[in-house]
Symmetry: C3
Subunit: 355 residues, 3 copies
């Protein structure tokens, strides 16, 4: 068994709900080619994207009702992956099937479980209720095939001091680096909390708050659910109005959501959304916020993509060089420890099962 940098027994975002209809949609996840499609009853199916017979991607075939017809010799597979037709053959080999993956649609995303289906528990799907369109608004998007290992994105989001350098002039300033922070954790989550008290707000938040001249308390409360979904509770409120004690009424509150799905060892799909719970009907603001994040190389996430891909290239060039860590990496280190434990646990389980 090849060692991976990612666990398999977990839910990964595979697509946005609106991207998958009654057509064959290929997607590579955790190094495996998968084909997604929506059945007539509305449920999404996810099959291994390689015909049992001669490996042609099933996504090059076509749908017939809820079944997939291979485009080469016409073998048919049902949504459970079982072969239901073979050309010129009455008896179907009972072992003829492709893998079917557990799928759940929740919070506007389609989640896939690439590991052992028996362990797939929908209760462990990350809480992205912000996407549900009730208290929060925001559209979001995906950078498919970002050319870096998915953990580099986790590192990026679990240490926001990078904002001071990568995002100077929008959301980053020296206050972030200067402020102390706490790291706490549970079995499967790591939370990094940073409060900047009585500071001049950075341009992005100053504009959203709309109260020129005031000083603010700014917060960043970032929670990772291992391995790679993150919710960042962020915002600013007029200083002295009690935000650190829970009263955010004199402020503005947003959240960034990130679901990072390994594609290969050196690429990933980055599902992102930036949501807010104020001025919710303002469609112009929604669009401006989306553009502020991804905008043809000029958005905040575009800046991250540039750095992350450069970092991956540097890693490829220095294969034996270790990473060194700073105090600011406390959250990153906890994240890696949890991910490594998930992977180690899978290796044990697999070995036991193989005995």
């Amino acid at each position: 068994m090849t060692a991976h940098s990612f666990p398999l027994n977990t839910w990964y975002a595979a697509a946005w709900t609106h991207e998958v209809g009654a057509k064959l949609t290929p997607r590579k996840i955790c190094g495996t080619s998968i084909v997604l499609y929506r059945q007539q009853g509305g449920t999404v199916a996810a099959l291994e994207d390689a015909c049992w017979h001669r490996l042609l991607p099933l996504s090059l075939g076509f749908l017939r009702g809820d079944e997939v017809v291979c485009g080469y010799h016409g073998l048919v597979f049902n949504p459970e992956g079982r072969c239901t037709f073979m050309p010129a053959q009455k008896t179907i080999n009972p072992s003829a099937c492709v893998r079917a993956y557990p799928v759940v649609e929740r919070h506007r995303l389609i989640w896939i479980w690439p590991g052992d289906p028996a362990l797939a528990d929908p209760a462990t799907i990350p809480d992205f209720h912000h996407n549900d369109g009730t208290d929060w608004v925001g559209t979001g998007g995906t950078r498919y095939g970002l050319k870096c290992n998915y953990r580099l994105v986790v590192d990026n989001l679990m240490d926001l001091t990078h904002e001071s350098y990568v995002h100077a002039g929008s959301i980053g300033d020296d206050n972030i680096t200067a402020a102390p922070f706490d790291v706490t954790h549970t079995d499967r989550t790591v939370t990094l909390t940073r409060w900047m008290i009585g500071i001049e707000p950075p341009p992005f938040w100053k504009k959203l708050l709309g109260k020129p001249g005031v000083h603010v308390d700014r917060w960043q409360i970032v929670t990772l659910q291992a391995p790679s979904t993150i919710v960042g509770d962020v915002g600013v409120a007029v200083t002295g109005t009690g935000a650190p004690d829970g009263d955010r009424s004199q402020g503005v509150n947003g959240a960034f959501l990130a679901a990072i799905t390994p594609e290969t060892e050196t690429s990933c799909h980055y599902f992102w959304n930036f949501v807010r719970n104020f001025d919710k009907e303002n469609e112009e603001l929604s669009q401006a916020l989306n553009k502020g994040h991804v905008n043809d190389g000029k958005g905040v996430y575009d800046q991250d993509f540039f750095v992350l891909e450069a970092q991956q290239r540097a890693i490829d060039e220095h294969p034996r060089m270790p990473f060194y860590n700073l105090n600011i990496d406390a959250g990153v280190l906890w994240a890696h420890r949890m991910i490594d434990q998930m992977i180690a646990r899978e290796a044990t389980t697999t070995s036991a099962a193989a005995e």
Copy 2:
């Protein structure tokens, strides 16, 4: 010695006769770079395309009479591969030579023997007399560098049930898949025979037959000469007029010729021709038939190319995944067995010679 998926002691098509004149023409065959040129007397020479001295491809040099001059330091090689001139040197190292390959021109193709020259017997060149311009007409062409292992093309042609799916709407329909077939073989050939009796002809044949409304008997008699040349005797005749018993007078008869030459382990050159023995002066029809096969992505072979390259990519992604076989693969299995035997026999011969 590296294991190959192809035998070397066999004839492979390297070029069409009209493609090789008095100029240096590089071609990669069985992983080896070869340079072809036509000598003044008309004979084609085939040399290893790498100078003995410093490996520069000889094809970057120039012809002087029937000899090749290297473009770097001017070493000269004759058509037998022997060095006849070295710069600033009177005595020529007797071991200074490049490999010369047995070459035969036959049936409008130039055939090369990449293996042991002592074994090269022109009598074993595949029978492609259809190309000779006597009883059959057809131009044909080549897809150089098709990005798949050459065996995938053999598989493709030795199981025409794929026509029902890959070529639906032209030559493929459900009758092919429904019809029974026989597989016979000799030492070096496999023949797959399928008769479809009293069927509605598919659009391609309906048009060629020119008898609207009639039902036909359709035949596909495909013979592989291992490792990779194929002649497919195909056609339709009005049903009940005796075609299965040998009387094809009430029908139309074509043949597809395919010579598949390995370029590398994951690419090949596909020499094809579709010939007919009726309406032979009809130049417009000849052109239409050529276009029907290869036409900027829209021809019948273009459809195959698309599937074959996708299949190779899938194999590269699933290196340890086995192929599974269906009843329809009987011809394919015989083909593989013969090719594997040819390769195994070479390994034995080589070992014996090395003792």
Copy 3:
């Protein structure tokens, strides 16, 4: 330790003086990414181009005075490679540093020593005084990232018989190949001397000499300082006027300078200049000579580049094929012997140090 085809304890040209200012300039040398910049006092610094913390290339950051700020988390490194600032951290890990490379500017080039800094002796920088703008004029240029191992360029310049074939019609003719030559050597240099007495000058030299109809003595005195800097003293003088005995007054004299810097095992940077010591104010001639060497594929060096890259591709395709040598390769063989000795000596030193 990986075996390289190049020594590390030597000076390699990294850039022309005018190319490096107060900005971060990345350059890969001997497989290592390096960032160059000019400090406020005028000295050039050369640092490993990968942050100690997370490997992001420092060249993607920015300069603050004479120090480099990493563009990801703001770590700061001084020109000696020592980290002088870490975000959110008072104490700096004393081991936090990136490699700094010895740098010397001389003869209009910036020279870097990629090996053990303790051994870096500026006295061993190659003598390229022709670049200094005193007795000789010439601009020169660089082919960065030429896609061949640097030794292939050494081979090219240490055997000028290739001029007869690669540069026929400008500087090459059959006289070069016909003339005898001597090879001499010292500890670290190889010199190849060829005199062609009483010959018709080739077009290039005929024009420069400007004496139609005369016959000339032509000389090529090429000296390699191992591993890969070369000075070629070249010219023609009216025959019978004593050039072979040292009187070049009736001739014209040029010199080609070449500094070949390994980039990777299969690519290099080729710093070249063609200088002359006559008609020095003639700016038009200077430009014409530059264009004669590199001119969008049509210059003399462009012809070499084409051959060298083709040769590297051929080597990559024939990994186990040895090179064979001719009499003309006497200079090349001495060059390889010296380079191999330099590499062997480093291996010994390294082993001893490691005990």
